[in-house]
Symmetry: C2
């Protein structure tokens, strides 16, 4: 019991039924890295634990289900372009530079420092095709104290000559070497990362499916982001029922898989995502920036999909999940007005649930303060924007609409204080 502690203050998290759970002047008890519960009056059995009084709001840490570490360098660049042009002009040339290990070390150091200082406690990260640079990123993230999944990217077709792997077999062998070398990390774990269908041959996707099963590995990729991309997949895979069907056919979907974007899924594809338990990573800043569209998140929630948020830097322009939450609300409001007013817009509470409990579920019991959940905690200093007369509910609303990562005064991951 002596490794526990108590945070006292105003606590907000998402309840198991997805409703907002507000606890003014309450105690969040942490023992052995996990939450023991939230209590208005501290139970007798916890009275020996050290108590910290927290100004601001105490909320769960945020889960970022999709982002590209090498693109941290490009935040805010090239956003007058659409996806495929943007990939060729901005993204691929930058990622190719990561063959240079000094360059990679310097860039990944900046990225890791930024992620560590952000509101994110858990993340699923794309690296590049380079195994050594990916290991370098993993070493840095391991030191950050965050829990992350990092993937060496696989690409063996339809990619620029300067940024592609020679064959499926070479890509798979490089992946196995990387996996063997990555085995020593505890906080930063490997995740298989086929970039997306257009840049992966059938042989490569099939081999990655086999690896996932043999080594019991999670997997991440992109799905149904942009209309031109979807048309391209249809042309590349004329025998598949859908873009989602391609991943399904190779055994790449499931409860340990994340598919980023899912903007334009058909009803049948939504069923497949649902039935396999695959996680959708909604990336609204990116979907706006590179003009991919407005994913019907309300429909996905109603359908019971596993879904969380992704910053998708640098299609997204920021690692700050507060901004991504707001963009999720914005996209849903404009979609309601412009496309389909039968799907209610996301509320502040909905967006918060996506960033915390819903996205956190990919990592296990993460993203809420229920007893037994890992203690990922943010203390958000809200003095910058609250009014002294605000209710706790109003302070929550203002946080969703006005807070920034820089307002996070303290961050804990599985009970360990990061700052």
């Amino acid at each position: 019991m002596m490794d526990g502690f108590v945070l006292f203050g105003d606590i907000v998290h998402t309840a198991p039924d997805s409703g907002l759970s507000l606890h003014g002047h309450s105690h969040l008890v942490v023992e052995s890295g996990r939450c023991a519960g939230v209590f208005p009056i501290l139970p007798e059995r916890f009275r020996g634990l050290p108590i910290e009084n927290c100004a601001g709001l105490i909320v769960p840490g945020f889960a970022d289900l999709h982002l590209h570490a090498p693109q941290h360098r490009n935040l805010g660049l090239g956003l007058d372009m659409e996806l495929l042009d943007w990939l060729n002009t901005i993204t691929f040339p930058t990622e190719a530079h990561f063959s240079d290990e000094d360059f990679a070390a310097a860039e990944y150091e900046k990225f890791s420092a930024a992620l560590r200082r952000s509101a994110t406690t858990r993340a699923c990260v794309f690296a590049t095709i380079h195994g050594d640079a990916t290991l370098q990123l993993m070493r840095l993230l391991e030191q950050s104290g965050l829990f992350t999944f990092v993937g060496k990217v696989n690409m063996d077709r339809n990619s620029p000559a300067f940024y592609v792997e020679d064959s499926a077999s070479k890509s798979l062998r490089a992946t196995e070497r990387w996996l063997d070398a990555a085995d020593s990390f505890t906080h930063c774990r490997p995740i298989l990362t086929p970039r997306f269908v257009p840049s992966c041959s059938d042989e490569l996707l099939s081999g990655l499916g086999r690896l996932a099963r043999e080594r019991k590995l999670p997997l991440q990729s992109h799905l149904s982001e942009n209309l031109r991309e979807i048309a391209w997949v249809k042309k590349l895979c004329p025998d598949s029922s859908s873009y989602t069907g391609v991943y399904e056919a190779f055994g790449l979907l499931g409860e340990r898989s994340i598919m980023a974007h899912c903007v334009h899924l058909s009803g049948r594809e939504i069923d497949i995502i649902h039935d396999t338990g695959t996680f959708a990573a909604h990336c609204p800043t990116s979907n706006i920036n590179v003009r991919s569209g407005a994913a019907p998140v309300r429909r996905y929630l109603d359908a019971g999909l596993n879904i969380g948020l992704g910053s998708d830097i640098s299609g997204g322009h920021t690692l700050d999940l507060f901004e991504v939450m707001r963009a999720a609300i914005d996209v849903s409001k404009l979609r309601w007005r412009l496309v389909d007013d039968s799907l209610p817009a996301l509320t502040a509470a909905d967006a918060f649930a996506l960033a915390t409990r819903r996205g956190g579920a990919f990592f296990g019991k993460v993203g809420a303060f229920d007893a037994g959940y890992e203690a990922d905690i943010l203390v958000v200093d809200d003095r910058r924007y609250v009014n002294s007369e605000d209710s706790l509910s109003q302070r929550f609303e203002r946080m969703v609409h006005l807070a920034r990562a820089e307002d996070v005064a303290h961050k804990y991951v599985a009970g360990v204080r990061i700052f």
Copy 2:
């Protein structure tokens, strides 16, 4: 000449043809509060002036064409509601409090301090129906050094009993008293402010039109923000050709008039706005937040409308015009994808032009660095997000997508340094 100065550094503004004008390592010369030009090499005749080296980007000050000062208190609140519900629940009760002059003084002091510290150098501001509180706001803004227009609001119908003027004639008399008292200010000038058609009787609109002509006053109001509001106006004014037609009939349009929102104008209404030279204030953060819709700004630009940006706090959640610029791009991108791909999305340069040269035009020669323009200048510290290898064009892009008001290191209004 001795009241002049020179800023040396990397300068960006919008050219007369609306294109982006980039000047690395150049001199911006200011004399008697106005720009004398931008020069790569400082001409002989200016060599006696003091020179300041500026890190970061030197850009024109931003013009905020529409905002509600009393709603500064409500930033980030009530944004799960649509416009008319939000007005009745959040806005009107707060505005009614401004009958209390102590309350008004305290709130307006916070607002004025925030506007002074923002990226805004010119603003058009709604106060409340209370003449004395409006004068208090004007005194504070006069001291801020910014150039502003402030209006006592007129409302004599369809308003809550706790927040309405008794009759058109009383509203007009109160307006004249306020105008007489406001005459001493130089930087903060009065602007007539009928709230919008639903809350103003014909007699009131007619009287305000007469006042505008007699006293040569500018005017601001709301137009075509929300579909329920538009339907309401149609019902209230069955004989009018359109919402815009009501304002036209009372002589309230023209080059010194600003109509906020203009989200759902018909082709005929666009023609009226164009032919009268009326300014449209595009308020994208607000139009998203209270789900009003996506104004076709590209169409308005193509049609040659006068148009700038408005933060519209607290329908908009922030005074920061950097965020409003980004929202203008976002709305245009989603509109392109979801509604009409014949209207190209706004580029970073387009959004910057709206915030500077286009919006500034309401105030005269304001919002650019052409010779003769008033010297409204921001020095934007971009070390937080630029890369040492960025071109000036890339630094500009990053500023539009990543900068915040807090990044403004120095601000000048008509050649006077504010901070």
